[in-house]
Subunit: 448 residues, 2 copies
């Protein structure tokens, strides 16, 4: 868990920024280098990615938690980050340290006075999740316990390396930590790899574009006993055979971290660039450092769970960048922050256009009640009522990447239909409002 | 925007913590004083509150943005926080400051060297939103621009004052900033007060429990001209008359901040305790400090928008605490993290119970596809398959606060129904699965 999550690939950043500028997706500022401002339309995409993953995590038995961002230095010493990762972390200090009362107990070590009010801004969620695990008595029949977390993470990357969405200092992961028994690794890894495959497929990334690498026990420096390592590695190999397929994954002999073996998942995008995305990292160390224990089926106490760190998207910012590359701004309908635009032919059609907008926008805007419902279908539908020609407004809509363009004039109102076309096809269909709304629902349900 | 958002009321913290311990909602740790760990069931409530508010914000034309957490000292000097609020902020420093390349330009002021790598951890979202506003050319026909943000905020409250959910160092707000013209204040404030009233009503807090206070221009120290103040205050008064009702709000003469008048919304809970929740704060200052401009309808440039800070829940942590008090752990179904539990009479009924769980859980778990849909109804349904008596499992379910308890035995399987009772009524109904699912949907849609 100490290694940076970014790969070195930084090309295509320019292209991404061009699309982002056109579609107003995100921006940055020298007042906070490496932190992204997601603009309203970028936030829509970001939130869809998060909602997508939360639902899949629910399916696989993850429980979401919300954990603090700052922890005292003492925690980072316990987790080992302070010794191994300090230079990549941001330090946090209360401006008026006197605000915190100091507990002077017997164990109080005055040599630590200096750091008493110092915190580290978290670069990872694992220590927080270990703390939660440690706060309750745990039994084998609760395992696996799976926590997910979408917290902000900060890593102090060198500023020269910062660029766009791919190298950042603040980012978010679809982070998950699984606390389980040795014999449960197999099933958990299989679930994770299946979710990875199914997820990437939703984004049009097929199995042929995914590579798996298994990194095994380093020869010299490793913790725990060889038997546990061998058992874990054999489970990983067998899962890779049954999910990725025998021969479809590579081994990196001795390349694992000292605290456990790992699987890296790389994908190749449309431009033949490789991106590290998913990771599965076994960890024999953090459970020991945090003294995590559970009661086993045989009644013995003090059993130590194994910790699995896993992410499917990896950094959401990075995955966002990959999708920008991949779709070149032509977002599929379900994730498009601009799903449809209505172009009233002239001023007299604006009222009808706005009523149509309300209907197609779905449950929130179409609600009769003062308070909109919490569940329902909702779509991003705009009206372009500027006094420009229909042609120039269509051109503008295409450049902004709307999935559908809907035109409405006298003839349409008479017929009780509207003229609708897609981004990629000039062909016009005449459809009723309910037909379009149904089509939108169908597209969202099938992730098109 | 410089005043702390917390009121002094801290009673009932004990009671809250007792409910939280029983229902496993949140926890804290001395390694991060004042930061809440939301456990899985607390996270469910927190997320429902956020989703509820996001949908209402969409209805009122807000656009969500995601903004950075750390900004260089220079930003906080610009916003005025460094001069006025520094002691309540956390400072952030890169552990290896050399990682950041320093731009040596002509304007570079060496006296600032010391703070060059220093950041402030944001206590408020406003400066970030002003930055976004300032990055684009703005025209009157885009106004009002309304940004919402659910970012983590940090304020370095004295540790002696920290307690439970009501006085914290890290919290979240249902924060919104409206950039508008003077003449648009009326409508925006009316919308906000209506949303406040409608929202509190969802939680069973009636108009009789809400108090409104208008704080007006301080006599001596204020910025801007009296005409603007008078115009703004008159709009606020007229909106309060039309929403709260004439005579139903109080004035705090001269009690406004120097940068603008404000409305505070207090609610009285079931225990007659008052809580500051919603706020509406007009701000003539930040737009000036950030040199925000827009082109007016008459073509003039350099028009300065007015900024409205507003929150309905206020601090989500604080509102969570109020709800804990208010419901005493008896959460209404729609927000209950434990909506139903199924109690199979004996081991032979576990399989049917688990199949029933899947059906009642809704669209994510009931999906046939590898990938669950992004939209749909989803409920929190557990199976208690422990080898305890039905009676003791029901007792346990009641103590945990499940809204519905569903029992299933041989007779139920024969009849094709299940026995269902509520938390508060021993009376048992025999219903079909589809009937229960329909009821759940109806309860969620009507916020019961
Ligand atoms: Zn981790
Ligand atoms: Zn504000």
């Amino acid at each position: 868990p100490y290694s940076a999550h970014h790969s070195k690939d930084e090309s295509s950043t320019q292209a991404n920024q061009t699309i982002s500028q056109k579609q107003l997706l995100y921006t940055t500022d020298p007042l906070t280098p490496g932190s992204i401002f997601f603009l309203p339309h970028g936030t829509r995409i970001f939130n869809k990615l998060v909602q997508f993953m939360k639902n899949q995590q629910t399916k696989y038995g993850f429980q979401e938690v919300i954990t603090p961002l700052i922890y005292k230095t003492k925690l980072w010493e316990k987790s080992g980050h302070w010794q191994n990762y300090k230079d990549d972390m941001f330090k946090v200090v209360g401006n008026d340290a006197s605000k915190e009362e100091v507990e002077h107990d017997h164990e109080y070590d005055h040599s630590h006075d200096e750091g008493l009010h110092d915190y580290g801004l978290k670069p990872m969620n694992c220590p927080g999740h270990c703390l939660i695990f440690s706060k309750f008595d745990r039994s084998y029949n609760e395992l696996p316990i799976r926590y997910s977390d979408f917290s902000s993470l900060h890593r102090n990357e060198a500023s020269g390396a910062l660029s766009g969405l791919t190298r950042v200092r603040r980012f978010h992961q679809d982070d998950g930590h699984i606390f389980c028994e040795l014999g449960q690794i197999n099933q958990e890894i299989e679930n994770t790899i299946n979710l990875i495959k199914d997820t990437y497929k939703v984004f049009g990334i097929g199995e042929e574009d995914i590579e798996y690498y298994l990194s095994t026990r380093p020869e010299d420096k490793y913790m725990g006993d060889i038997e546990t390592w061998d058992n874990a590695e054999n489970q990983l190999k067998s899962v890779l055979d049954s999910t990725a397929g025998s021969g479809n994954w590579k081994i990196r002999e001795g390349d694992g971290a000292f605290y456990g073996p790992k699987i890296d998942v790389l994908l190749t995008d449309a431009f033949k660039k490789k991106h590290q995305v998913g990771t599965i990292q076994l960890d024999f160390q953090l459970p020991q450092r945090f003294e995590l224990k559970y009661v086993a089926e045989d009644g013995t106490r003090d059993n130590q769970p194994i910790l699995v760190h896993r992410a499917v998207f990896g950094s959401l910012e990075r995955f966002f960048a990959i999708l920008l590359d991949h779709y070149q701004g032509k977002w599929p309908f379900w994730i498009n922050p601009r799903q449809a635009v209505i172009v009233p032919v002239n001023e007299s059609h604006i009222e009808v256009a706005e009523s149509l907008q309300k209907q197609l926008s779905g449950d929130i805007l179409n609600s009769e009640s003062n308070i909109s419902p919490i569940t329902g279908y909702n779509f991003y539908v705009d009206v372009d009522k500027r006094a420009e020609t229909v042609g120039s407004r269509i051109k503008d809509a295409l450049s902004k990447g709307y999935s559908y363009i809907i035109m409405i004039g006298d003839k349409d109102i008479q017929n009780g239909t509207v003229a609708i076309r897609t981004r990629d096809d000039r062909k016009i269909q005449n459809l009723k409002t309910e037909e379009i709304y149904k089509k939108f629902i169908e597209l969202e349900r099938s992730y098109q």
